[in-house]
């Protein structure tokens, strides 16, 4: 059982944190060092008095050793700590999460909220700076004001003005004041459109993902052969660019569903252990639609949680389906070690990789990835690549050493990582930068 197997890892982590020798801890709790070694490598199950004794020696709550903490909550807490220049005991975040799950959840949810608000501010700032409609309206207002001011100051100036000029400047002021009134009204209407502002405050990708998340990333209406993707788009009620993106997602979903009908696909998933390569072979289809289909399995049907991410050739995330233990930042630079990005350097080559995320309670995941042409190749034109990756719980936990990946450099403790692009901001961690 993975949870039980990780108890040993947590014990080892806490012992090393405290700088205690294995032999010393073993002696204190009346077991042999070799037995503690087996426990720490998850080769012996423990419980009862022994785990209570170990928790006491390691100065942690028993629950921290037995249950650990929610990885997603921990990621957010560490991200929140790293985002401010305040000295925080990041190495004790797991202890905090285990001991006070309510408060930790609050920190994590506030960090998420701040992230969302910062993204809204970024989008709105971009809008203020680059929105052609806003820029045009402001230019119109300033031009009208400038013309009125210039004409009016001529009229009120000390020098004599003949009647023809007076009439001309009066007429100009009148015309410009009408223009100013109209352009001001248009500007106010534009700025006072709260719905539109909220709608555009998150990116179209995120609007689509939020909608898909609300239906568990499973579009039941598109599972029948005569399904109409347009109905899904209309019912979602998104606007602007998000509608177009959702239409593309729904069309692809419908064609994937025809290629891999749900009932047969679910049966095959169970017999192949959700292995996309085996499924692709069984259905005689490419691996990419199989990976998408795995991420579309209905929630609540006893399937494992399967995350999905796609990116373009520049590594920009174009779709993210998060699952517990798997989070990848859309902005700010994801860890380049994810096989999603590695696949871009090996197009058309399926990749299978065990990965482990850092932390006192390391999360092991199984990833499959493949990059392939997004659209059919054209003569002498550059290939348009898109990489797709799915993430499954690593239940088998193969004996090989998993690849250590992070969320992003800022909160990653791997100091010697050659892929590091910026220093980590973790308390007590050193970091090298290329």
């Amino acid at each position: 059982m993975p949870t039980q197997r990780l108890v040993g890892s947590r014990i080892r982590e806490k012992r090393l944190d405290l700088g205690l020798k294995q032999a010393a801890v073993a002696e204190t709790v009346n077991i042999s060092p070799s037995y503690l070694n087996l426990i720490e490598h998850n080769r012996r199950r423990i419980g009862g008095k022994l785990i209570a004794d170990l928790a006491r020696v390691l100065k942690v709550d028993v629950a921290l050793l037995t249950e650990g903490a929610d990885v997603a909550v921990l990621d957010k807490m560490r991200g929140a700590a790293a985002s401010l220049d305040i000295d925080v005991e990041i190495n004790r975040s797991e202890e905090l999460a285990a001991r006070y799950p309510g408060w930790s959840g609050l920190i994590a949810s506030q960090a998420r909220r701040i992230e969302a608000l910062e993204e809204q501010v970024r989008v709105l700032t971009d809008r203020m700076a680059y929105d052609p409609q806003l820029s045009g309206s402001l230019h119109e207002v300033i031009s009208a004001v400038s013309a009125i001011r210039s004409s009016a100051s001529i009229l009120v100036g000390p020098e004599e003005l003949d009647q023809d000029w007076q009439r001309r400047f009066h007429t100009n002021i009148h015309n410009d004041s009408v223009r100013l009134a109209e352009s001001s009204e248009a500007l106010i209407n534009y700025l006072e459109a709260p719905d539109a502002a909220i709608e555009h405050a998150s990116s179209p990708f995120e609007q689509v993902e939020t909608y898909l998340s609300s239906v568990g990333f499973h579009l039941a209406a598109l599972e029948s052969r005569d399904a109409d993707p347009r109905q899904v788009v209309v019912q979602a009620g998104l606007g602007g660019a998000a509608t177009k993106l959702l239409a593309a997602v729904a069309n692809r979903y419908a064609s994937d569903a025809k290629l891999l009908p749900l009932k047969a696909f679910e049966d095959a998933c169970r017999t192949t252990g959700y292995d996309p390569l085996a499924l692709a072979e069984r259905f005689e289809v490419p691996m990419t639609p199989v990976m998408r289909r795995l991420a579309q399995l209905p929630p609540g049907a006893d399937h494992p949680p399967i995350g999905l991410a796609t990116c373009d050739a520049a590594g920009a995330l174009t779709f993210i389906k998060p699952v517990p233990g798997f989070s990848i930042p859309r902005f700010g630079g994801a860890c380049p070690l994810w096989p999603l990005f590695g696949a871009l350097s090996r197009p058309f080559q399926p990749i299978r990789l065990d990965v482990v995320l850092p932390g006192a309670n390391p999360t092991r995941l199984l990833c499959y990835a493949m990059a392939e042409a997004k659209v059919p190749a054209k003569l002498n034109a550059s290939l348009v690549l898109q990489s797709t990756m799915i993430v499954l719980p690593d239940t088998a936990q193969s004996e090989g050493i998993p690849l250590s990946v992070g969320v992003s450099c800022r909160i990653c403790p791997h100091a010697d990582c050659t892929s590091r692009r910026e220093p980590a901001m973790m308390t007590g961690q050193s970091a090298s930068v290329l």
Binding site: L138, I142, S146, A147, R149, S153
Partner: protein, 122 residues
Amino acid sequence: MGKRVLLIEDEPNIIEALSFILSRDGWTVHTHEDGATAMEKVIALPPDVIILDVMLPGRSGFDILRDLRGHEVTKAIPVMMLTARGQEKDRDLAIRLGANHFMTKPFSNSDVRDYVRNLMEA
């Protein structure tokens, strides 16, 4: 004939007001409203001072300024930028490209008149 000022601006009422105050100050005022053909107009004249708007139809005032400073006939003509874009980055760009003065809208007539005089005397 007085000194020539070329006003490159697309707002008719601003053109009329500035033309009036500069004419009254002794300048021969020429006007041009299209960014795309502004360089041809400058070379054909050429004026003693240029007042140049930034947001013009056809071509940006910044692009015109860059060309002015790169052309043998026009590179030494004093240029005053007159724009609704008053951000620091716009001002920096104008000065970097070789503008002699940068003024934001809405402007004061007397400021425009004084700066144009100064540019001529500098």
